[in-house]
C-alpha cells in the first residue's frame, strides 16, 4: 500500500533522486563508530541537530498555552506545567534541551577545531557555524525571560545592561530590545517573545540549511 502510494507520486514528480540526494550517501569508514569507536566524536553535530528538532517541536507545542503578557505569562506557564497532562515533560524538554543543545554545539565545535576540519575549503562553513552558535545563544537568552519570574526578570536586566554597554549605539540597542528606555515590562516581554519565536528561528533555519548544503557539497573532512 505504502509502496503503491510512493510509486504513484514518484511516477509523477520523480522524487527518488531528491530522496537520494538528501539521505542516501556513503558514510566514510573513519567517521563510522562501528569501525572505530573513537569516531563517536563525529556524532555531536548530528546530536545538535536532533536536540534542535526537539526544541522546535516542544516550543511549538508550548505556544498552545503560553501567552507573552506580563499579567498572564507566569500563570500560563504555571498552568501548563501543573494542570496540563504531560506539561511538565514538554516544558522540561524545552528547558533542559536548551542547555543540552549548547553543550552539543560546544562539543561539535571542539571536534571541528581540534581535527582542523575548519581549514580550506571549509572556512565558510566554520563561519556559518559560529553564526549558528550566536543565534543559539540568543535563543537561550530571549527564551529565559519568557516564564516572567524573578530570575527571568533580573537576568534580563543584566542582559539589557550588557547591551547598553556597547559603544555609541548601546543606549538605542537597549531600547530596541526592551521597548522602553527604563521599564523592563510589557513591551520587553512581547519583543523577546517575537524574537525568540519568529526572528531567531528564521535565521536559524536559513543558517542550518547553508551549513548542511555546504557539508554535502564539500564532504566530510578526511581522516587525521
Amino acid at each position: 500500500m505504502l509502496q503503491k502510494i510512493y510509486d504513484w507520486i514518484d511516477e509523477r514528480v520523480d522524487i527518488t533522486p531528491i530522496w537520494r540526494d538528501i539521505a542516501d550517501h556513503e558514510v566514510p569508514e573513519h567517521v563510522n563508530p562501528a569501525h572505530h569507536f573513537s569516531a563517536f566524536v563525529y556524532c555531536f553535530g548530528g546530536l545538535t541537530f536532533f536536540v534542535t528538532v526537539i526544541q522546535i517541536l516542544s516550543g511549538m507545542f508550548l505556544t498552545m498555552y503560553y501567552v507573552p503578557d506580563i499579567e498572564n505569562a507566569w500563570n500560563s506557564v504555571f498552568y501548563l506545567q501543573q494542570e496540563v497532562a504531560h506539561g511538565q515533560i514538554v516544558r522540561g524538554m524545552h528547558h533542559w534541551g536548551a542547555s543540552v543543545v549548547i553543550v552539543m554545539l560546544f562539543l561539535h565545535t571542539l571536534r571541528v577545531f581540534f581535527q582542523g576540519a575548519y581549514k580550506k575549503p571549509r572556512e565558510l562553513n566554520w563561519i556559518v557555524g559560529v553564526l549558528l552558535f550566536f543565534v543559539m545563544l540568543a535563543l537561550g537568552l530571549t527564551g529565559y525571560l519568557l516564564p516572567w519570574d524573578n530570575k527571568a526578570l533580573f537576568a534580563t536586566q543584566v542582559t539589557l545592561q550588557i547591551a547598553e554597554s556597547v559603544p555609541f549605539i548601546g543606549e538605542d540597542l537597549k531600547i530596541l530590545l526592551a521597548g522602553d528606555p527604563e521599564i523592563v515590562g510589557a513591551q520587553t516581554l512581547t519583543r523577546f517573545f517575537a524574537i525568540h519565536v519568529f526572528f531567531l528561528p528564521a535565521a536559524l533555519f536559513a543558517l542550518m540549511a547553508t551549513h548542511f548544503i555546504m557539508i554535502r557539497r564539500q564532504g566530510i573532512s578526511g581522516p587525521l
Binding site: I70, D172, A178, D180, I183, G185, A186, Q187
Partner: protein, 171 residues
C-alpha cells in the same frame, strides 16, 4: 544606428535595470513600515521628568537623611501601574535639599543610611558591602564605581516634589 554602439544600453540590460529598480522599490515599500514599526520605541521623544509629590513638607527635612517613599504613575505601553520609589532626603550644609536614589550603582541593590553598625554615617549596600558617604559619593575600594543618582526636585507650597533620578559621573 549611432556610432558609439558600445555605450548603448541593450534591451536586456534595460530590462534588468528596470526590473531591479521596480523590485527594489517594492521591497523598500514593504520593509519601510515594518522597520519603522520595530524601531518606534527608540524614536520616542524623551519624556521630560514629571514631578510627583513626595508628601513631605520642607520643614520636616533635616540635615539627617530621611527615607521617603513616593508613588509614581508608570505607563508601560498599554499597562499602567503605580510604582513605589524611594529617596533619601536631607538638607545639605548650605541649606539646599538633596534627594538621593538608593539604587546602588554597583549592581542595583538598595542602600540604606546608617543601617550597618560597622559603617556609621554612610550609605551601605548589603549585597556587596558597597559604601557611599553622606553626599552619595562612592567610597573608593568598595564595589560601586559611581555616586548615587540624584532626583530632580522642587518645592511647591512647602511640599517636596521629586522628578527623574539623574545619574552622576564617576568620581
Amino acid at each position: 544606428m549611432s556610432k558609439d554602439k558600445k555605450n548603448q544600453v541593450s534591451r536586456r540590460q534595460f530590462l534588468n535595470y528596470t526590473l531591479t529598480g521596480v523590485g527594489g522599490f517594492m521591497a523598500a515599500g514593504m520593509l519601510a513600515p515594518m522597520v519603522r514599526f520595530a524601531i518606534d520605541p527608540v524614536l520616542q521623544p524623551d519624556e521630560g521628568g514629571e514631578f510627583v509629590s513626595a508628601k513631605i513638607s520642607e520643614e520636616d527635612i533635616t540635615t539627617e537623611p530621611k527615607r521617603v517613599a513616593f508613588n509614581v504613575e508608570q505607563v508601560d505601553a498599554w499597562y499602567e501601574s503605580t510604582v513605589e520609589k524611594v529617596a533619601w532626603v536631607y538638607k545639605q550644609e548650605d541649606g539646599s535639599i538633596i534627594a538621593l536614589d538608593p539604587t546602588c550603582t554597583h549592581l542595583g541593590c538598595f542602600v540604606g543610611w546608617n543601617d550597618n553598625e560597622n559603617y556609621p554615617e554612610h550609605f551601605y549596600c548589603p549585597c556587596h558591602d558597597g559604601l557611599y558617604t553622606k553626599d552619595g559619593v562612592n567610597v573608593p575600594n568598595t564595589p560601586p564605581t559611581a555616586p548615587l543618582a540624584v532626583y530632580e526636585h522642587k518645592i511647591e507650597n512647602g511640599i517636596l516634589y521629586l522628578g527623574k533620578a539623574i545619574p552622576r559621573e564617576e568620581a
